[in-house]
Amino acid sequence: MSTPGMDRSNLRTPLKEVRGLGSAKSGTRHFIIQRVTGLALVLLVIWVVGFVLSLIHAGDYAHAREMLRHPFAAVWLIAFIITAFWHAQLGLQVVIEDYVHARLVEMLAQIAVKFVCAGAALAGVVAVVRIYIGQ
């Protein structure tokens, strides 16, 4: 008795041919990270809105920098920047998967989104750190 798709001279099972090719590509990992970063952002963004309002209230440059010298503000802002760009990349990835049907364009768009999100997140973190250490 032979299994369909299985060569008698080859002991490899057909499973090898389909591994990693499922429709969801990486199972539920993407879905779960999207939700967990979303949950984190609920908490992070409420504080960020308040912070931005007090930045507007502070007005001048020196006062604004002083506000970012507080360790809590720096940590919270860095957490927000990383989580927000992570969440954005995951969301944009799904949008591109759904609407861009040309394989090459889709691939380039996915890579571009990853580069922009990672680069902007790093730039944001460096900006906060520079202000925090007073450079």
């Binding site: 979303g38 952002l41 309002l53 440059y61 604004a64 969301g91 944009l92 944001g124 202000i131």
Partner: protein
């Protein structure tokens, strides 16, 4: 397999748009807008790190009519995406799937996003504007 000739789902042209459907596509649209808005946040932080002149010009841009329209749009997009995101989280753990419930939570999301946007801009105005 002639995949190109097969009909696409969902059939957007033949449905009468219920509220949930409009909110679903708005969730995507606001998400995309907020991703762009995040870049502006980074630009503001970079200007603050760079020096007083950069920060002043960033603030001038934010206080311009174009900047204000962007900020106002982004603030509503943020609160809509936030409220609707919480609605999605409730769905993800299995609550609120009933047709009537989903419609009601949709209305709550729209009202809450408008109220929160109004509150934030009331705060801004009470402080004497953006710049």
């Amino acid at each position: 397999m002639p995949q190109n000739t097969r009909p696409l789902s969902p059939h957007l042209q033949v449905y009468r748009w219920p509220l949930s459907m409009a909110l679903s596509i708005l969730h995507r649209a606001t998400g995309i807008a907020l991703a762009v808005g995040l870049l502006l946040v980074v630009w503001l932080l970079l200007s603050l790190a760079h020096g007083p002149e950069s920060y002043a010009s960033a603030r001038t841009f934010c206080a311009s009519w174009f900047g204000l329209i962007l900020l106002f749009g982004w603030s509503w997009a943020l609160f809509f995406h936030l409220c609707n995101g919480v609605r999605h989280l409730f769905w993800d753990v299995g609550y609120g799937f009933g047709l009537a419930q989903a419609h009601r939570s949709g209305i709550v999301v729209v009202v809450a996003s408008l109220v929160l946007t109004g509150l934030v801009w009331a705060c801004v105005l009470a402080q004497g504007g953006v710049a």
